[in-house]
Subunit: 304 residues, 2 copies
DNA sequence: GAAGTTCATGACGATTACGCATAGCAGATG
DNA sequence: CATCTGCTATGCGTAATCGTCATGAACTTC
């Protein structure tokens, strides 16, 4: 079987798998069973004559050939969708930009950039969605997002190691700060000393994988007590406001801190920097995408 | 049924129909029966929700929607083929240019341009094929040719009236000439007077459609005797050499005239001009295509 | 070692796609 | 006017394909 005999269905299934990272999730997103996905992937791999996916316990990873297929598949499927749109008389819909963002970019940068955009480019339509870094990166590679806002911590590795590499731009570099209840003794000054952080109670992020101490000040070698874990920033900050613990927060979130929470720098330890990244594919960006990127860049400068 | 549900097979069939102009010819080129083609076209039209082809007695003609679909289909199919090539480890094969030409461009211009190209761009591969104007234009639109050499006579209408229009460039404008046997009384001078053309025997081209007098000097209102009809230039010119008749020929063919044939201008009538055109789609041309176009342009100037 | 992931696969029913044969239609030809 | 020769459309039977269900195998986590 030749690759030219693949079906569009197989390409769609493959794209969904690439985007969601597992057969099961892809199946759910398509309304198929996992079995159907498995067969379609087997078929397309037979057609390609090579493995396109490395099966690993936690899901799949694209091989080099898989990336090649994905690159072409996104073009093909996009073209089909564009044909359908044109035939139904709709405009080319080239004005819509799809943006992905991590939660910590959603409270300040995103609304500012979008507000500004709606003033300067009222014709531009932006649809956005939140997600974790791996989810957003996969969606970007699968062609279902045009731009992605990501975070990065030292040693500032690239968000993925695939080829071709993503085009990544640093929008801002901010120091990591501490969210402290206004009523807390530590909140009296304009900064906190790292020595005072031992023995505090912490509100951590969801313990996902390696960086399981997200939310706890880095480098505290003593066993820190994690009192609560939460993913949502509003919840985290209100837990802090209620005096239930401390948490780390990017300086960029300062303007969004609710009453009862102070965002303070920490002195005495190594500089803890966090970067906000804007990533896209290495294809030439359409003009509306470039406008949104520019607005995000401007908004990031604004919040300095 | 939505257009997004079309199959690649349907797109391929549709492209073949657009290229060959009839269901039957498309079926033959694909190794299908006419029945299968008819069904696939019906399916894709149902998916598109509109007629894509006007059925006429002599074949089909694309509607506006049909052109839209064709445009996208060529992209999609090209992308699939590129994927197949990449997966089999071959280079992107971006160095191959597909050129179409009408017979009168094949004897002089084509070999000159290709010889020159093989000297200046040895890495460039050109595959070419001969065809009639409508066949070549359809093949160009269907994406199976990159460049097409065409002829044009007054009133120099565009080779087709579809949208988007083809990008057409005039490579040369030559006067129409007369091929005369060297032994013929008319061959004594350096030109022929139009008055002497009455009552001659002619070697015409195949009587296809409107321009059924191709080969006979235009404007001879009397009934001219067509002694032979031939499509092939070598045959035509050797029929002339054997004294079996006269025929018209573009001045560009002069260097290719065999012994026993003189190519002479005709005086006394209106100027009969013929243009050699180079046509391509309105998409931006890849660099190798531009090289070939440049070589053709240069060769056309050379043969002035 | 039990439970919960992951992907793979045999069996089955519904759909689809093809070729064959034939019908319908319009212009050319005698 | 009848026939012939292009063209496309369609009824029918067969063979391949696709998706679900149910189950299995490999592996991590508790």
């Amino acid at each position: 079987m030749n690759f030219e005999d693949v079906s569009l269905t197989a390409l769609r299934v493959f794209r969904a798998v690439a985007e969601h990272g597992t057969f099961t999730a892809a199946a759910a997103s398509l309304g198929y069973t996992q079995s159907a996905v498995s067969r379609q992937v087997a078929t397309i791999e037979r057609a390609a004559g090579t493995q396109l996916l490395q099966r690993r316990r936690e899901g799949v990873r694209l091989t080099a050939a898989g990336l090649t297929v994905l690159r072409h598949a996104t073009v093909v499927l996009h073209e089909i969708e564009a044909t359908a749109r044109e035939l139904s008389g709709l405009p080319p819909a080239a004005g819509t930009v799809r943006l992905g963002w991590i939660p910590s970019a959603g409270a300040v940068l995103l609304p500012r950039a979008l507000t500004e955009l709606s003033r300067t480019d009222p014709g531009l339509r932006v649809v956005s969605r939140e997600g974790t870094t791996p989810v957003l990166v996969r969606a970007l590679r699968a062609g279902s997002l045009d731009l992605v806002l990501l975070g990065s911590a030292p040693p500032f590795r690239s968000p993925d190691t695939e080829t071709p590499p993503l085009v990544v731009e640093t929008l801002a570099e901010r120091s990591l700060r501490l969210a402290v209840p206004a009523s807390h003794p530590l909140a009296r000054g304009d900064f906190v000393d790292v020595a005072d952080l031992r023995g505090q109670r912490w509100i951590a992020g969801p313990s996902s994988g390696e960086d399981r101490l997200m939310g706890v000040w880095p480098g505290l070698d003593e066993r820190s007590e994690i009192a609560h874990t939460a993913r949502d920033w509003l919840a985290k900050l209100h837990l802090v406001a209620a005096g239930l613990g401390l948490t780390t927060v990017s300086a960029a979130l300062t303007p969004a801190a609710p009453d009862g929470v102070r965002i303070l720098p920490v002195r005495g330890g190594p500089q803890e920097q966090r970067r906000l990244l804007l990533a896209r594919l290495d294809r030439p960006s359409a003009q509306p995408v470039a406008r949104v990127a520019a607005a995000l860049r401007a908004a990031a400068l604004d919040t300095t």
